[in-house]
C-alpha cells in the first residue's frame, strides 16, 4: 500500500480528527438539538443571539480526473427568531493538484409565518461569489454533472460566478419525524445565463423521542438519523432531468455535549452524471448569547 497516496492520507487524517473529537467531546453534557441534514434545510432557524460555527468536508471520487476534498466554514447567526443570517467561506483540495479558496456566500433565511402550520415555509436568499473551481456541492442545480469538476484548479478558478439563489424551505415535524422539501432557483447574474432549478428533500427522526432523566453522551435521543436526496432539474432553456445529477445520502447527527454536533453523510450518485461517492461530514458548535456578548463589548447593553 502506498502510504503517501491521497486516500491513505485522508483516512489517517479522518481517524486522527475522529479520535481527537471523541476525546474532547465525550466528557461533556448534551445540549444541542440539531438536524442531521447537510444539504436540505428544515424550517428551524438559529436561536436569536446565538452564533453557530460549522465546518464541513466533502470528499468526492472523480472519474477521469483527480478525487477532491472540498470544505467550507459557516458562521450562522440568529439575528431574530424569524431571521437567520450566514456567511460561508469555501475551499477545496484536488489531489495531485492544489488547495485553493474558492469564494464566499451570504445567506439569509426568513420565517414567513408566526406559528407552526401544516407546512412551514421559510424563504431562503443567498448571494454567491465563487470561482468555477468551487466543489462543495452544497446544492446541485441545473445541469450540474460530475464532468464539471474535471478541469484543473488553475483553469477552473479563472471562471468567476456571481449568483443569486432562492429556495423555498418547506418543512413539517410530526410524530418525531421531520420531512423537508426545498425547491431551488438559481440565477447567474450574468444576463445571458438562464435560471437553473434543483431540489433537495429529506426525512429524519431522533432515535428516541423521550429524553432520559440522566445526563448522557450516548443516549439514543442524542442521535438523529435520516436520509436526503438532491439533484438538478435543468434550466429555463432546457428544463427536465436530462444531463442532470442526483444523489441519495443517508445522514446521521450526533448531538454532542456542550452544543457540539457531528454529522456524517455518505452520498451515492444515482445516475451516470453523478459522482460515485460523495462522503460528507461536519462539526459544529453553537455559541449561546454571542450577540449579547458582542453588544456588551460595544456598550450596547445596560
Amino acid at each position: 500500500m502506498d502510504l503517501s497516496s491521497p486516500a491513505v492520507k485522508l483516512t489517517t487524517a479522518l481517524r486522527t480528527i475522529a479520535l481527537l473529537l471523541f476525546a474532547v467531546l465525550a466528557a461533556c453534557v448534551s445540549r444541542a438539538q440539531e438536524s442531521p441534514y447537510i444539504v436540505t434545510y428544515d424550517h428551524y432557524l438559529e436561536e436569536p443571539g446565538n452564533l453557530e460555527v460549522e465546518y464541513y468536508s466533502a470528499f468526492a471520487t472523480q472519474r477521469g480526473g483527480n478525487d477532491f476534498h472540498a470544505f467550507w466554514l459557516e458562521f450562522e447567526y440568529g439575528a431574530t427568531a424569524w431571521w437567520t443570517t450566514e456567511l460561508y467561506l469555501d475551499g477545496q483540495t484536488t489531489f495531485d493538484d492544489s488547495t485553493i479558496f474558492t469564494g464566499f456566500r451570504l445567506e439569509n433565511r426568513f420565517r414567513l409565518l408566526q406559528h407552526e402550520h401544516f407546512i412551514n415555509p421559510v424563504l431562503y436568499v443567498e448571494y454567491e461569489q465563487i470561482s468555477g473551481a468551487d466543489k462543495i456541492m452544497k446544492e446541485i442545480e441545473g445541469h450540474d454533472v460530475e464532468s464539471d469538476h474535471l478541469d484543473p484548479n488553475g483553469l477552473a478558478r479563472q471562471e468567476h460566478k456571481h449568483e443569486l439563489e432562492l429556495k423555498l424551505l418547506l418543512s413539517k415535524t410530526f410524530n418525531g419525524w421531520n420531512v423537508a422539501l426545498n425547491p431551488l432557483f438559481t440565477k447567474n447574474l450574468s444576463p445571458s445565463e438562464p435560471w437553473e432549478f434543483g431540489y433537495a428533500l429529506g426525512a429524519s427522526r431522533p432515535l428516541a423521542l423521550k429524553a432520559s432523566s440522566k445526563r448522557c453522551t450516548f443516549c439514543r435521543e442524542n442521535f438523529v438519523a435520516g436520509v436526503e436526496m438532491y439533484g438538478g432539474l435543468g434550466d429555463a432553456k432546457s428544463p427536465g432531468l436530462h444531463e442532470t445529477s442526483h444523489y441519495l445520502a443517508p445522514v446521521v447527527a450526533w448531538n454532542l455535549p456542550s452544543d457540539w454536533t457531528v454529522r456524517l453523510s455518505p452520498g451515492f450518485g444515482l445516475n451516470d452524471n453523478s459522482h460515485r461517492l460523495l462522503l460528507r461530514w461536519g462539526l459544529s458548535h453553537e455559541f449561546s448569547g454571542f450577540g449579547e456578548m458582542i453588544g456588551r463589548l460595544f456598550g450596547g447593553r445596560r
Binding site: S30, R31, Q33, S35, D42, Y44, L45, E47, P48, G49, F75, Y77, G78, A79, T80, A81, W82, W83, T85, L87, L89, F101, G103, F104, L106, R111, Q114, H115, E116, Q129, S131, G132, R157, Q158, E159, H160, T173, N175, G176, N178, P206, L209, K210, A211, S212, S213, K214, R215, E221, S288, G289, G291, E292, I294, G295, G300, R301, R302
Partner: protein, 158 residues
C-alpha cells in the same frame, strides 16, 4: 469568463470580510433593538398573553407524561439545555425571557404551555420548539408545572 489575478483575489478576500462584518453588524444591531424593546416591557402581562391565545383543543389537552416518574428530571435536563439561557436557571426569569414560575404560567393548563412551547412567540424573540419531539416538550411542561411560584415572588435570576 473573467480572469482572476492576485490583486483580484485580494480584492475578493477584502470584500468577503467587509461583507461578513456588515452582515454581522446589521444583525447585531437588529438583535439589540429587539432586546431593548424586550427590556422596556418590564416583564408586563404582555409576556404571558400568548398563553391565552392557545386554541381550545390544545388548552384541554392532558399531559400524557404528567405521572411519568422520570418526566420531571428529564424535563429539568431539557429546560437547562434549551430554556434556561433566556428564562433563567431557576425559571424565575432572565434577561430575555419572563418568569415561568409566575401565576400566569403556573395556573395555565399543561396544554396551553405545550402550545406556546411548540409555536414559540416568534415576533417577541421566542423560537418555535417543535424541533423537540412531542414527548420531550411534555417533559418540559411537567417540569415547569412541578416548580410552583418562586420562593421570593420578586426574584429574577441574574
Amino acid at each position: 469568463m473573467t480572469k482572476f489575478n492576485s490583486s483580484c483575489r485580494r480584492d475578493t478576500l477584502s470584500k468577503t470580510l467587509l461583507a461578513g462584518l456588515c452582515v454581522l453588524g446589521v444583525s447585531l444591531a437588529f438583535a439589540q433593538t429587539e432586546e431593548s424593546a424586550a427590556t422596556k416591557r418590564e416583564r408586563s402581562g404582555h409576556d404571558y398573553a400568548e398563553l391565552a391565545k392557545a386554541p381550545e383543543k390544545w388548552r384541554i389537552k392532558e399531559n400524557p407524561l404528567a405521572t411519568d416518574p422520570d418526566a420531571v428530571a428529564a424535563g429539568r435536563k431539557l429546560f437547562e439545555a434549551h430554556c434556561a439561557e433566556c428564562h433563567g436557571e431557576t425559571a424565575a426569569g432572565g434577561k430575555k425571557g419572563p418568569s415561568l414560575r409566575a401565576q400566569e404560567v403556573q395556573q395555565a393548563t399543561p396544554g396551553a404551555i405545550f402550545w406556546v412551547l411548540t409555536n414559540g412567540v416568534v415576533r417577541r424573540g421566542m423560537p418555535v420548539w417543535s424541533k423537540l419531539p412531542e414527548p420531550q416538550r411534555w417533559q418540559i411542561v411537567t417540569y415547569l408545572k412541578s416548580l410552583g411560584p418562586p420562593p421570593n415572588h420578586n426574584e429574577v435570576s441574574k
